[in-house]
């Protein structure tokens, strides 16, 4: 390979990596106290939650305008912006803050709620058991409860009749809402997942949008 081609290939690789990093990171929140936009990463999120006992305004449950042809009851997940929308009648949606898959674990697709559970047992998938010692000790299943990673409720996502192994679930780590932290599941704080669970029906359509997704399901 000539030196020029090598340089071009290297430049392309650098640009691709830069674009990927830019996509993976870069959330900012507006701090009403300082009137400034601040980077929102794990450190900021942990400190914000410790100080305020809740997530930033943008990630709190709220009714927003939502122009769509989708039926009320449809769940729409915007993984890039860290929002989950539940479509309501009259051009509105309930918007919740979410945590999503970290780098390399983001996915997109059109799936459905196959089943739901209250205070679900968490059984880590074999891949997670293999790579994560904390998951390995619960290989046979962790009973539901306040320390369970699935939190208070879980909505199990299916593509057709097949379990995708992805869930929308609660979390005991509310401070992680707004971050890219999971292994591909969509996490919400427990109050929000209880609220969402009370409003949806099994079979509800779930559209997952994620620019730069590593995987596609149901399409």
């Amino acid at each position: 390979m000539s030196r020029t081609l090598q340089k071009a290939a290297l430049a392309t690789l650098v640009l691709t990596l830069a674009a990927y990093v830019a996509l993976a990171a870069g959330t900012q929140i507006y701090d009403p106290k300082t009137r400034k936009w601040v980077d929102y990463d794990k450190n900021t999120a942990r400190k914000y939650f410790a100080r305020n006992k809740q997530v930033p305004d943008a990630f709190r449950r709220q009714v927003v305008t939502f122009r769509t042809a989708e039926e009320p009851g449809t769940i729409i997940i915007d993984g890039n912006q860290h929002f989950l929308y539940l479509v309501q009648p009259g051009g509105q949606a309930i918007r919740y803050g979410i945590g999503v898959g970290r780098e390399g674990f983001g996915w997109a697709g059109i799936v459905r709620v196959g089943r739901t559970a209250e205070w679900p047992t968490w059984t880590p998938p074999a891949e997670m058991v293999a790579r994560d010692p904390n998951a390995a000790k619960w290989a046979a299943g962790q009973p539901g409860g306040p320390d369970n990673p699935l939190g208070a409720r879980a909505l199990y996502l299916y593509a057709g009749d097949a379990d995708t192994i992805y869930r929308i679930h609660g979390t005991p780590e509310s401070w992680t809402i707004g971050l890219d932290v999971s292994s591909g599941c969509i996490r919400m704080n427990n109050d929000d997942i209880i609220d969402l669970h009370s409003r949806i029906k099994v079979g509800a359509k779930v559209i997952v949008l994620m620019q730069g997704a590593a995987l596609y399901k149901g399409v």
């Binding site: 830019a22 996509l23 990171a25 870069g26 959330t27 900012q28 929140i29 507006y30 009403p32 009137r35 936009w37 929102y40 930033p56 305004d57 943008a58 990630f59 709190r60 709220q62 927003v64 939502f66 122009r67 769509t68 042809a69 989708e70 729409i76 915007d78 890039n80 912006q81 860290h82 929002f83 929308y85 949606a93 918007r95 997109a108 697709g109 059109i110 707004g178 359509k205 559209i207 949008l209 620019q211 730069g212 997704a213 596609y216 399409v219």
Partner: protein, 104 residues
Amino acid sequence: MSIFLKSQPLPALLLCSIAALAACQSAPPPDQMSRTAVETAPADLQLLCADAAAKQAGLERAKVLPTGSRPVEAGGFSVDLDASGRKFACVIDRTGVVKSVQAA
């Protein structure tokens, strides 16, 4: 201030104007208090594009997925769509009016 205005009227007026503007600047509403370094189209606009592409190509809406989006110079967004391997490009304005849908 009056001395400053008499001696340097133009810069003083400029400073006063900037101060007035800053005082009028308000915080964004709670639903707009987060943003990302890479701007993507709002989810509802992406799905309006998916709906328009499905109608135009005679496809089932459940098979058309937005896979990427970005702002365009003319205002609004360009949205990439995938319909079981068929690619489309849609342009939509910020009010939700679809400007064009084309096979990509």
